[in-house]
């Protein structure tokens, strides 16, 4: 029952957020240059251009255009891409699996490395391994992602030639039309460099976050009491300390997913990864306004959904947080 109340409440909030995103997204269209110039060549006369503007509704007042857009958007029509001459949403959804798998790979890499590394650094504070990881993480935080990407391409793609650094390789189409690169060795090998690059933004941050939180929980009274009860070291560390460490980590992690999506634009561009981010950059270069707006709205929706999921997950691991609307 209270899960339904929670979902209802969050849906209302999501609608408001999406409304604001659509307004901001739509309002940039006037500032991106003249779409007519991209659509038609030099040979079309000024009169014909005016006529086309009138037909496309580009001369209407802003709010008339906006509400027309909004009316179509709630029916799933985010406009037609000028370049692809197809519905913008369809164009984006074709590219969604590639981006999703890239993010999935990055999340898998940084979670499976940052948790053990963070715990290790919290427990062995003064070992030389800890000092090395801590220093390396400072470097990692400071290096911009495009530099990491280019470095990866140069080292593993060009110099050593171990891994492909271009595109997605062969994909397999799943029954519901999802193009996956996770099922073939070739697809996976193409995924390694881009997802390592993308995870390199999060990894040092998460190691430091998990270490700091773990050190804090290790010095709490309840961990000391757990030791005084005679529990084994591993139970004290992983059941008593680490579960409490997870709370802030999940919160920050949820927010970071957004950053991760933002960085897919850079990563996908360097690796020519055929995902949404790469598509978005192309759309910007072509002033493909409907596609740009559709991208902003789809990414906004992903943000809202992920944050709702994170809040839900948080209530599962923290008994002190009740879902809003739950009976106490």
């Amino acid at each position: 029952m209270h899960i339904l109340a929670f979902l209802l409440r969050r849906s209302v909030q999501a609608v408001i957020v999406m409304f604001v995103i659509s307004l901001i997204g739509f309002s940039i269209q006037d500032n991106l240059g003249d779409p007519l110039r991209e659509l038609v060549g030099q040979s079309v006369s000024e009169e014909e251009r005016d006529l086309m503007r009138e037909e496309m509704g580009l001369n209407d007042p802003f709010f008339v255009q906006y509400f027309r857009f909004l009316g179509n958007a709630v029916q799933g029509d985010l406009g037609t891409s000028y370049f692809f001459k197809r519905p913008a949403l369809d164009v984006i959804m074709d590219k969604f699996p590639a981006t999703f798998e890239l993010v999935l790979g990055a999340v898998f890499i940084f979670l499976s490395l940052s948790i053990p590394a963070g715990i290790y650094c919290a427990i062995h504070r003064d070992s030389w391994i800890t000092r090395f990881i801590m220093s390396a993480s400072i470097v990692g935080i400071s290096v911009p992602v495009f530099l990491t990407a280019i470095g990866m391409v140069w080292l593993f793609g060009v110099e050593l030639g171990w891994l492909p650094a271009f595109g997605r390789g062969d994909t397999v189409e799943l029954p519901w039309g999802w193009e996956t690169g996770l099922l073939t060795w070739e697809g996976l090998s193409h995924l390694i460099l881009p997802s390592v690059t993308l995870s390199s933004i999060m990894l040092p941050l998460f190691i430091r976050l998990i270490r700091a939180e773990m050190m804090e929980t290790m010095s709490t009274d309840y961990v000391r009491f757990a030791k005084a009860k005679g529990l084994s070291t591993s139970r004290v560390r992983y059941v008593h300390a680490f579960r409490n460490t997870l709370l802030p980590v999940v919160t920050v992690g949820g927010l970071m997913i957004g950053t991760l999506i933002a960085y897919t634009i850079l990563t996908e561009t360097v690796f020519q990864w055929p995902g949404m981010g790469f598509l978005f950059l192309e759309a910007v270069n072509r002033v493909d306004t409907p596609l740009i707006i559709a991208y902003i709205i789809v990414v906004g929706l992903i943000f809202v959904v992920v944050n709702t999921l994170v809040d839900f997950l948080y209530t599962l691991i923290n008994p002190m947080v009740k879902l809003p609307g739950a009976k106490s």
């Binding site: 309840y222 009860k229 529990l231 084994s232 008593h240 409490n244 709370l247 691991i317 923290n318 002190m320």
Partner: protein
């Protein structure tokens, strides 16, 4: 042989790169089976340090730099991590100061009780839960069965401290170390909790080390007192004897400061000054800057603990009577 015998215990913390400061500067005590000892002193006197060093639980970077803690003749400080775990929470239990932060917020009461039993006994889940319910009833927690599934935040401070006491009693320990068990509680339930601890210790013949700054509680609960000041024991002896006739000026000052001893309408007595931090101890007797009986001798030498007090100029009872 006494059950617990602490000999010349020193606890040191690093200060800077090379130097160390001592939080405990050589404390000795003996405790017989079923005996109740009160350890009294101001904050920072080293009381909690003493409590935690018994189970070798001093928080890093502190360490026991000297001395021994013999439990039935076995030095706990020399046991392996595995062996000391068999003592912690099993034969010697602890009750912490603040029940609001002693229990893990993300685990149920049941989990936190059962895991203690499972760490020390081969016992089935069902039997463990049954025993936990029995202990919760012993500490007078209403509807004990339903509390096992509750999280700590669903219980009041008083109830949480009862849960902590129940956990301490789960394995029928020989000694309970209670570190200011009522300080963080409402005044109205302090007496209840203290009475509960006293009753359970008496019934089960469990020895108690009660750490507190409240002489009033010590007078009611314990048989012997140890008064600590700046990492040293300054006076020790039977509770009634010390309360009626303290020898050390510090003990006398603490007693005089109790509201019970102040006349109606008069100002409460206060010991002048405050205890020096362990990083800046004066030479000689650490109490001399606050002591009205101090002489040049007190500034030069640390008085040894003799006849139950560490003072060059103890209060003579004939003098005190006049």
């Amino acid at each position: 042989m006494a059950m617990l015998e602490i000999e010349d215990l020193h606890v040191a913390f690093p200060k800077g790169k090379k130097a160390e400061v001592e939080a405990l500067r050589g404390v000795s005590l003996k405790l017989e089976k079923g005996e109740r000892l009160g350890v009294v002193g101001e904050s920072g006197a080293g009381k909690s340090m003493l409590a935690f060093s018994i189970l070798n639980l001093i928080a890093e970077p502190g360490r026991v730099s000297q001395g021994s803690v013999a439990f039935h003749g076995e030095n706990l400080l020399e046991l392996s991590e595995r062996d000391i775990r068999g003592i912690r929470g099993n034969r010697i239990s602890m009750i912490f100061q603040d029940p609001m932060v002693t229990l893990n917020p993300v685990l149920t009461i049941g989990t936190q009780m059962v895991e203690t039993l499972k760490a020390h006994r081969k016992i089935s889940d069902a039997a463990a839960r049954k025993l936990c319910i029995a202990k919760l009833k012993e500490v007078a927690i209403p509807s004990a069965e339903s509390r096992l599934g509750a999280y700590p935040h669903e219980l009041s401070g008083g109830l949480r401290q009862r849960v902590v006491i129940a956990i301490a009693l789960l394995t029928d320990p020989e000694l309970i170390i209670a570190d200011e068990p009522t300080t963080a509680l409402d005044v109205t339930i302090q007496a209840e909790i203290m009475a509960l601890i006293l009753k359970l210790c008496r019934e089960k013949d469990v020895a108690l080390i009660l750490i507190t700054h409240d002489l009033g509680i010590v007078a009611e609960v314990t048989e012997r007192i140890m008064i600590m000041y700046a990492g040293l024991c300054v006076e020790t002896g039977p509770t009634q004897q010390i309360i009626q006739a303290p020898h050390h000026p510090y003990s006398a000052g603490l007693l005089k400061a109790l509201p019970q001893f102040a006349g109606r309408g008069t100002r409460l007595y206060q010991i002048p000054g405050s205890m020096p931090p362990i990083t800046a101890l004066p030479p000689g007797c650490a109490y001399h800057p606050r002591c009205e009986r101090a002489t040049e001798l007190c500034k030069a030498q640390v008085p040894p603990l003799e006849h139950g007090h560490a003072c060059f100029h103890p209060i003579d009872q004939t003098e005190a009577a006049s």
